[in-house]
């Protein structure tokens, strides 16, 4: 981390461009960065041995030296020394540039603003690059969809970039071919197509918001008038569009502004977890809940009508568990209470609940908002629009813009129908993995097989690739140019940090080649597009180069967010609403959800994401069948028991998971598992639920049957005990309680640490006073449990993944874990999250038990010196917070789960087998800052050092800083009456403290008294 770069925030644009042009021109990427490595030739070997014993390492890998070593061991040391001092032993090779790129300083990282997309929607990131080797991405503060935060998917992109299982070369019928051969053959066929006007040619894409790529597609359609374009996204938002059409008669893009909202009602919407813009939404939501020093005590209130437990539900003040299928009815009743349409059927309890909610909504006219979930049918969305209009939300808490994606693409169903009518003989699949993730009833694989010419472009040699003729490896987003729209329409630019490692090519190139146009590089295409269209956004009379440089530097095009518009709500909406769904239920409800970690299956081969505990279940490396406790009881199903899901004659078997807060009779399963060709890691993990999915019921349906098998399986969870045993570890209270008892965090909990004189030793034992006293605080009111910090920590600190077996053995390595506790009843419990990093105790119990001073106090922190550790593990035994992690085996290399060496952070040691490791407050960042400050003889300004977890956090729940800097942010936070230290009574004096969690329940529904 270079602080100078970050603080001034300047990311030298032209210089980078120069570098990048060079890179693009450069030879094969791999050698490129490898050649720049300023370490010996085989990094993994070095990292392994050097962590162990430098000289041994230097000797061990060469014959002659192995002999010497044996002599040394054999005992004739003097002889060895005398006899061999003569022969010089090269320590290694050092390889400089031939021509150093401008502005490159070997050993210093560079930062590039770029953006990564998920489901077509862009999140702006800043990518860190060490001598041309991307190692880390973090949020781009200037990007509206990121605001400096990042989600786990984006964080793992670095690992994905170096994934050795990525497609390495273009293949024809799975036989390695060449790019040039591909160009040749495509050119030939394009010529043929030209004659037929592209008859029978079709393109299947995922949702695309990229202006330049859309332009390219239009180009193709212009060149081949008969060519067709289809679009399929397993985690699609058809309901949203249809709902808008229903409500307004036109498609719109809905943008929420939770910072303006006092009352929020979520209709099955996981807007903190994974809606487009969820990072921004999380920030807005958290700002509404955070108690600012000196400001009046107030916070927003969140009601969630949840089809299945999500982190949004966990952060809510009131949750109403309702099967997704019945939320339609609930929504109607809610609307009816506001005078819109007719009520749907609701139970007594629900009715009472709704009355209270509606009261609250009415009370906050103009400051309330209703958020429909992406998985909900059009009717719910339409009603939500109507309700928002009725609540005066439009223009305030909700705004509408033009849709991000244009119309004009057919659905997957249209495609399969077309194939049935033999209208398609040439299909180009741009990304996605339809053979795996298409709804089963469409039998895409079967149809795909019937197409004569199948061309596929993607990252992995996956299920679809296996069925395709031509498979062209895709260039990763960190390897190619591009653009995409953020949730609010902001144009975000993607720039490569490295030449494609595996002969990857961009979608532009493929599209052009397939359509027989000249294969320009993605750089030319994207830049060319914006040269034509930049004037709309350029400040008047700005030259394109200046505009381009500015935009690429910032990773986005300034004020390109789509303007708000006010679509006209249909007056006869109520009458147009379709019949309520599921009047009477057959069997159980089946609900699909994208997975917390691997989304729709595209991240299945990422060890980081697979091992990232699922947000609520804390399960790794598996998906489960979620049942409510009552349902499980009724069906006599045991936790972790294999159950057979029967639906429309298809059957799928998976382990049951009894999920507190799951609505009764609703069974939730996660997409993306049971891959057949995902790669070494993803293949065969979990069970595939796409066979149960139908085009007419993408998200939920009834008619599910559940069958016991009696067989139980092992699920690798990272938390086995779910309640807090009444210990005051995590402290929460209601807002009202806080008003009456400002110091509630200390009341009724085990007390403060003992007085100084009670200790045998003079306290605090300190060397001459420290210049900096680093400390952390975590706000439990705003932590939403999204786990972005966990994976950010993993990426920053070279933490290894270990695989399912090791997690089962209790050997997981995450330095930062998020504890999840339940309280209340099983049906709708309160869910609490508590991130637990190292507490950096001042009286650290782990330190004095270490026999070799591997765990000592350094710079006021609780240091773990890896190269000194011999692995007695007494420190972990004596750590009351159990935040230490041990390398039980050789995890760092040679295992499929090992982090790719190139992705590892050169500023942090890679830990060897047999040593203890733990959170260091990102000491490498602190040291960089200290060095930078020391060179100019000034103190580190407040906020210059950000830990990886702090930076990643979407809600800014984590504050970090120096206690010696007066008025530093951390000092302000720690002055809050809510501040408390975990286990203070055992006198460990932690530097990490917490802000007691606050909730704001509705008095009218006085059940949820969160006062622990």
């Amino acid at each position: 981390m270079s602080v100078t770069d970050k603080s001034s925030g300047n990311i030298p644009g032209s210089i980078n461009l120069a570098t990048i042009r060079k890179k693009l021109a450069g030879t094969r990427g791999r050698e490129y960065w490898k050649g720049l490595e300023q370490v010996a030739e085989t990094p993994e070997f070095d990292e392994f041995l050097h962590a162990e014993f430098p000289r041994l390492a230097a000797m061990w890998d060469r014959k002659i030296d192995r002999r010497t070593l044996l002599k040394l061991m054999g005992g004739s040391v003097a002889f060895a020394a005398a006899g061999l001092a003569g022969c010089s032993r090269p320590i290694g090779v050092i390889v400089p540039y031939v021509n150093m790129p401008e502005g490159e300083i070997p050993g210093k990282p560079m930062y590039f603003a770029t953006s990564l997309t998920l489901g077509g929607h862009a999140r702006g990131v800043i990518a860190e690059s060490y001598t041309g080797r991307p190692t880390f991405v973090e949020g781009n503060q200037e990007h509206p969809a990121s605001l400096g935060a990042i989600d786990s998917y984006a964080q793992a992109s670095v690992e994905q970039l170096y994934d050795p299982d990525r497609a390495q070369v273009a293949t024809y019928r799975t036989i390695p071919g060449t790019w040039s051969a591909f160009i040749e053959q495509m050119g030939f066929q394009a010529a043929k197509m030209k004659a037929s006007g592209g008859d029978g040619f079709a393109i299947l894409t995922q949702s695309i918001t990229s202006p330049s790529l859309l332009a390219e597609i239009r180009q193709v359609q212009k060149r081949f008038p008969k060519a067709r374009w289809y679009r399929y996204q397993p985690v699609g938002r058809e309901g949203v569009d249809a709902g808008a059409k229903l409500a307004f008669g036109e498609r719109v893009n809905t943008v929420y502004h939770f910072d303006k909202a006092d009352v929020i009602v979520s209709l099955d919407a996981d807007f903190l977890g994974l809606m487009p813009g969820h990072l921004a939404y999380a920030r807005q939501f958290a700002d509404g809940r955070r108690q600012k020093p000196g400001k009046p005590i107030k916070m927003n209130r969140l009601y969630v009508i949840a089809g299945t437990p999500t982190i949004t539900g966990a952060s809510a003040d009131h949750v109403l568990p309702v099967p997704s299928a019945k939320i339609d009815a609930v929504a109607r009743s809610l609307a009816a209470r506001l005078g819109i349409g007719a009520a749907g059927g609701t139970t007594e309890a629900q009715a009472h609940w709704l009355d209270a909610v509606v009261e609250d909504l009415k009370k906050h006219y103009g400051r309330a908002v209703v958020v429909p979930g992406d998985v909900q049918p059009p009717a719910v969305h339409a009603l939500a629009h109507a309700i928002n209009a009725r609540l005066g939300a439009v223009g305030g808490t909700v705004t509408y813009t033009e849709p991000l994606e244009p119309d004009g693409a057919g659905s997957l169903k249209d495609l399969t129908d077309a194939i049935d009518h033999n209208e398609i003989n040439r299909l180009l699949v741009l990304g996605g993995n339809p053979v795996y993730d298409a709804p089963a009833d469409l039998d895409f694989a079967g149809h795909y097989a019937r197409v004569e010419e199948r061309i596929y472009w993607s990252h992995y040699p996956n299920e679809t690739a296996y069925m395709s003729y031509w498979h062209v490896p895709a260039a990763h987003e960190l390897e190619s140019w591009g653009d995409a729209l953020a949730y609010d329409g902001t144009v975000s630019l993607t720039q490569p940090l490295i030449a494609p490692l595996y002969h990857g090519h961009s979608a532009y190139e493929v599209l052009r080649v397939v359509s027989g146009a000249n294969a320009d590089t993605d750089y030319d295409v994207v830049r060319g597009y914006w040269r034509q269209h930049y004037r709309r956004y350029a400040s008047n009379g700005e030259a394109f180069d200046a505009f381009w440089k500015r935009s690429v530097q910032r990773g986005l095009i300034d004020n390109s967010a789509l303007p708000a518009k006010t679509p006209h709500l249909r007056d006869d909406l109520a009458s147009r609403l379709p019949q309520p769904l599921f009047r009477q239920r057959r069997g159980l409800y089946l609900q699909f959800r994208p997975d917390d970690s691997i989304f729709d299956g595209r991240f299945a081969n990422s060890a980081w994401l697979q091992e990232l505990p699922r947000r609520l279940t804390k399960i790794t490396w598996d998906n489960v069948v979620m049942l409510s406790p009552r349902t499980a009881e009724r069906l006599g199903i045991d936790n972790k028991e294999l159950v057979v899901l029967g639906y429309h004659g298809r059957e799928v078997t998976g382990p049951a998971w009894i999920m507190p807060g799951q609505p009764d009779n609703a069974v939730t399963v996660q997409l993306g598992y049971g891959r057949k060709r995902a790669g070494r890691l993803g293949t065969g993990v979990g069970f595939d639920v796409y066979p149960l999915r139908r085009a007419d019921a993408m998200w939920f349906d009834d008619g599910l049957t559940l069958m016991k098998t009696g067989k139980r399986v092992f699920l690798a969870t990272t938390q086995y005990h779910q309640t807090m045993e009444g210990r005051g570890l995590l402290r929460t209270a209601t807002l009202d309680h806080f008003r009456d008892h400002p110091h509630w965090v200390d009341e009724g909990y085990p007390g403060k640490p003992p007085k100084l004189h009670e200790s045998l030793y003079p306290e605090p034992a300190e060397k001459p006073p420290l210049e900096y006293r680093w400390a952390m605080n975590i706000d439990l009111s705003t932590c939403i449990g999204c786990e972005a910090c966990v994976i950010a920590c993993q990426a920053e600190n070279n933490i290894q993944s270990v695989g399912k077996e090791e997690v089962l053995a209790g050997h997981e390595m995450h330095w930062l874990r998020i504890d999840r506790y339940y309280s209340g009843n099983m049906e709708d419990p309160e869910t609490y999250f508590q991130p637990v990093p190292c507490m950096q105790c001042e009286n650290a119990p782990c330190e004095y038990v270490c026999p070799v001073e591997a765990s000592v106090h350094a710079e006021g922190l609780n240091a773990q010196v890896y190269n000194r550790c011999i692995g007695t593990r007494d420190c972990s035994q004596n750590c009351p917070y159990k935040v230490r992690r041990f390398n039980w085996f050789r995890y760092q290399t040679g295992r499929p789960t090992s982090t790719p060496v190139a992705a590892e952070n050169p500023d942090v040691s890679v830990r060897q087998r047999g040593i203890m490791e733990k959170c260091t407050y990102c000491i490498q960042r602190i040291n960089e800052a200290k060095i930078a400050a020391d060179k100019t003889d000034r103190r580190i300004p407040d906020g210059m050092v950000e830990t990886a977890c702090q930076r990643a956090c979407p809600t800014q729940a984590i504050s970090f800083g120096d206690l010696n800097t007066s008025h530093s942010k951390i000092n302000q936070v720690k002055d809050s009456p809510l501040d408390y230290e975990m286990l203070a009574e055992i006198n460990t004096r932690p530097r990490t403290s917490y802000l007691g969690g606050l909730t704001n329940p509705n008095p009218a529904l006085a059940k949820k008294d969160k006062n622990a």
Binding site: A51, I94, V98, N99, P106, K108, N867, S909
Partner: protein
């Protein structure tokens, strides 16, 4: 008869005991000595280089400054090895077809880097930062010795932890005024003790936490 040994056995026994004691002592001494040998520290011996670049000539005779080639030293943890282009700035004019420089020219033509043999290397778990040292008045010479006297460069110090610690405990004597950091063989004009104290103040160096593990290990 119960007599098992001859009279001389007593003498022998005593001698053996003395030897045993000496053996242990000597063995310890040998081990200790071994760790000081240049063999273990890689010191004193210049490894063969693809291009016989002579610091003696370039620094000593021509007086080219360290930073001309190692320009990362003030900015980065890594002092930097000059790219081929830096060599060619002069050698495109001078000695343009000296056979000695063939590898350099070839490197430029074929765009393949020169593979120098490493002389000094610290273990991967030691995070040494050149820039902070030179900015605080630690001269190149303190670690790398009189490079201006080395035809091919060799290592002068074993770079053991003790070596680092010794200086981190008491940097004063090693420091130089800012203008002399890159000089070779510089001698203080005033009393070294005075100078040390002055420079410690000048560079704001506080040693209290300079030996904390986290300074070098992460």
């Amino acid at each position: 008869m119960p007599q098992v040994f001859r009279p001389r056995a007593n003498a022998i026994a005593r001698v053996l005991i003395i030897f045993a004691v000496l053996f242990v002592a000597i063995w310890g001494a040998v081990l200790w000595g071994y760790y000081q040998t240049p063999y273990v520290g890689f010191t004193g011996k210049a490894p063969y280089q693809p291009v016989p670049f002579s610091h003696k000539h370039h620094v000593g005779a021509l007086g080219i400054g360290c930073r001309y080639c190692h320009n990362g030293v003030t900015k980065s943890e890594f002092a930097g090895i000059p790219p081929t282009h830096t060599c060619m700035t002069c050698h495109s004019q001078l000695w343009t077809n000296a056979p000695m420089l063939q590898p350099v020219r070839q490197s430029l033509e074929t765009d393949t880097p020169i593979r120098w043999v490493r002389v000094t290397k610290l273990p991967d778990y030691v995070y040494f930062n050149h820039s902070v040292h030179v900015k605080n008045g630690v001269p190149c010479q303190a670690c790398h010795g009189r490079v201006d006297k080395m035809p091919l460069v060799w290592k002068v110090h074993g770079f053991r932890m003790r070596f680092c610690i010794a200086c981190h405990l008491n940097p004063g004597p090693h420091l130089r005024p800012e203008n002399a950091v890159y000089a070779m063989g510089w001698k203080p004009k005033i009393d070294p003790k005075l100078l040390a104290a002055k420079l410690m103040k000048h560079y704001h160096i506080k040693t209290a936490h300079l030996t904390d593990c986290y300074v070098c290990h992460r």
